[in-house]
């Protein structure tokens, strides 16, 4: 019979526990991100396919360009009247812009450069720069990761042309692209113009993996991170934490979201994530399988708050208490039916 090295055995168990805890942390992180409140920057009925979504950088850029063009005078009422072609990029039906998560809206700008061919002229094959159709009946075509979105006829002959969207008409109403955003969304996206001409842009500058550019909303969600499992003696522990601060400020509002404040109700996301994951985590790090049974005591300490000025986190700790090296080795051998 080979010699059992108790140290190596404990080391192996701790390594396995680290692995299990890391899996558990990832599970909590995933669920916490699902629960994390994301700023709903769109007006009701626009840009939604259910649930909230964040505005993409190109959407923001298009809107920001308009807002900047207005200056301090606000939206010009003559904006659409002055540029009749803009109105041609209109929707005559449907509930708003056919956007979905990840849609790209092109910046409003040189739309007048496009050539328009009325559909009743007939017989024209669309050239790369011409689009036909009856005025005011066009549906915008939007390039998105899943292809072009818009009316079927438009998609079929739009070819490589992508429409720029300035003014959108829907349900008999005409509104500017910026109107897609709620008032809160506009504030979050652009903020107030400060003395230096800079906008606050609160809620911006969130980098999401796999998505280029910045988004409005999702800073908190993206701030939920994992501190991988570490060992401290025979204890293995790791953390899921949330850090979210506004630009130029140190205050971590993740804490306010998790626990609430005098000004805002709590929208907990970390602890529900932990509670939902608890059973799964225990299974992931369950040391009671096979020969390890009885060698360790595990404790999942949950719901304990770790909060400082900069972070709020849910610790997930697995405490492993070995029964002494001799006892450990004896128990192991006994479980294997090789008692010595």
């Amino acid at each position: 019979m080979g010699v059992i090295d108790p140290d190596a055995l404990v080391d192996a168990l701790l390594s396995a526990s680290e692995e299990g805890i890391n899996l558990g942390l990832a599970e909590i992180q995933r669920r916490a991100q699902k629960h994390a409140p994301v700023r709903d920057v769109f007006r009701h009925g626009h840009g939604k396919t259910g649930g909230s979504r964040a505005a993409r950088a190109d959407e923001i850029a298009a809107i920001e360009k308009m807002v900047d063009r207005w200056g301090s005078k606000g939206p010009p009422t003559a904006y659409s009247a002055r540029s009749a072609n803009l109105r041609n990029f209109a929707m005559t039906s449907g509930g708003g812009l056919a956007t979905h998560r990840g849609s790209e809206l092109w910046k409003a700008g040189s739309i007048a450069d496009q050539t328009w061919i009325p559909s009743d002229a007939g017989g024209h094959e669309p050239s790369p720069v011409s689009i036909r159709g009856r005025p005011n009946s066009y549906h915008p075509v939007i390039q998105s990761p899943i292809g072009r979105i818009g009316s079927r006829s438009m998609r079929s002959w739009a070819g490589d042309n992508l429409l720029e969207i300035g003014v959108i008409r829907g349900n008999g109403k005409e509104f500017l692209l910026s109107d897609l955003l709620s008032s809160r969304g506009r504030y979050e996206a652009f903020g107030r113009v400060g003395p230096g001409g800079k906008r606050a842009g609160r809620g911006r500058a969130v980098k999401t993996a796999g998505v280029e550019g910045e988004m409005v909303g999702g800073r908190l969600r993206d701030g939920i991170t994992i501190i991988p499992a570490k060992r401290n003696g025979t204890m293995v522990y790791g953390f899921v934490q949330a850090v979210a601060t506004d630009p130029g400020k140190k205050h971590n509002y993740a804490k306010d979201q998790e626990f609430g404040s005098r000004h805002n109700r709590a929208q907990p996301f970390l602890r529900p994530g932990l509670r939902e994951s608890k059973d799964r985590i225990v299974k992931m790090i369950d040391p009671s399988k096979g020969a390890q049974k009885g060698l360790m005591q595990q404790r999942l300490q949950s719901g304990r708050r770790v909060s400082s000025g900069s972070e709020v986190g849910v610790p997930v700790r697995l405490r492993i208490k070995a029964q002494g090296w001799d006892g450990l080795a004896n128990k192991f051998l006994s479980d294997l039916g090789l008692g010595r």
């Binding site: 626990f259 609430g260 404040s261 005098r262 000004h263 805002n264 109700r265 709590a266 907990p268 602890r271 529900p272 509670r275 939902e276 719901g303 304990r304 708050r305």
Partner: protein
């Protein structure tokens, strides 16, 4: 008929109101989520954090985690009321409609730092997390 965590919240508020000492201490009343501006201090705010279900044969266990906060104009008042809440809830089996309360216990302190309210008053936020276990037959 099965009932949800809403019944637990109702039971929790009922339990707080039935405690005369606590009721007298929370001048600003009991609020869910947050209290309106100009609510008098001290007041109590509760918020349901999570309420996962555990299904057994023929019965369902709900383990509701509820944060209960006290907001007061000074730390001593906040701590005193927090103690009254602890007395009223920790270890109690208050009535929950349609469910049997197995236990309610405080599982964590939630120490909050001083804050400033919308009127510029310095206020203290102190509270705890309570776990309420209930069982109901299906």
């Amino acid at each position: 008929m099965a009932s949800t965590s809403a019944a637990i919240k109702r039971g929790l508020v009922r339990n707080a109101r039935q405690n005369a000492t606590l009721k007298a201490a929370i001048v600003g009343g009991i609020h869910e989520g947050f209290a309106p501006v100009k609510t008098r201090y001290p007041f109590m705010v509760y918020n349901l954090v999570a309420a996962p279900y555990g299904s057994l044969w023929g019965s369902r266990v709900i383990v509701a985690l509820v944060d209960i906060w006290v907001y007061a104009e000074n730390g001593v008042d906040a701590s005193n009321v927090d103690q009254l809440i602890l007395d009223a809830f920790d270890g109690s089996q208050f009535t929950v409609d349609g469910q049997d309360t197995l236990i309610c216990r405080r599982v964590a302190d939630l120490p909050g730092g001083p804050d400033v309210d919308s009127e510029g008053k310095k206020i203290y936020q102190i509270g705890g997390s309570y776990e309420v276990w209930t069982d109901q037959s299906l």
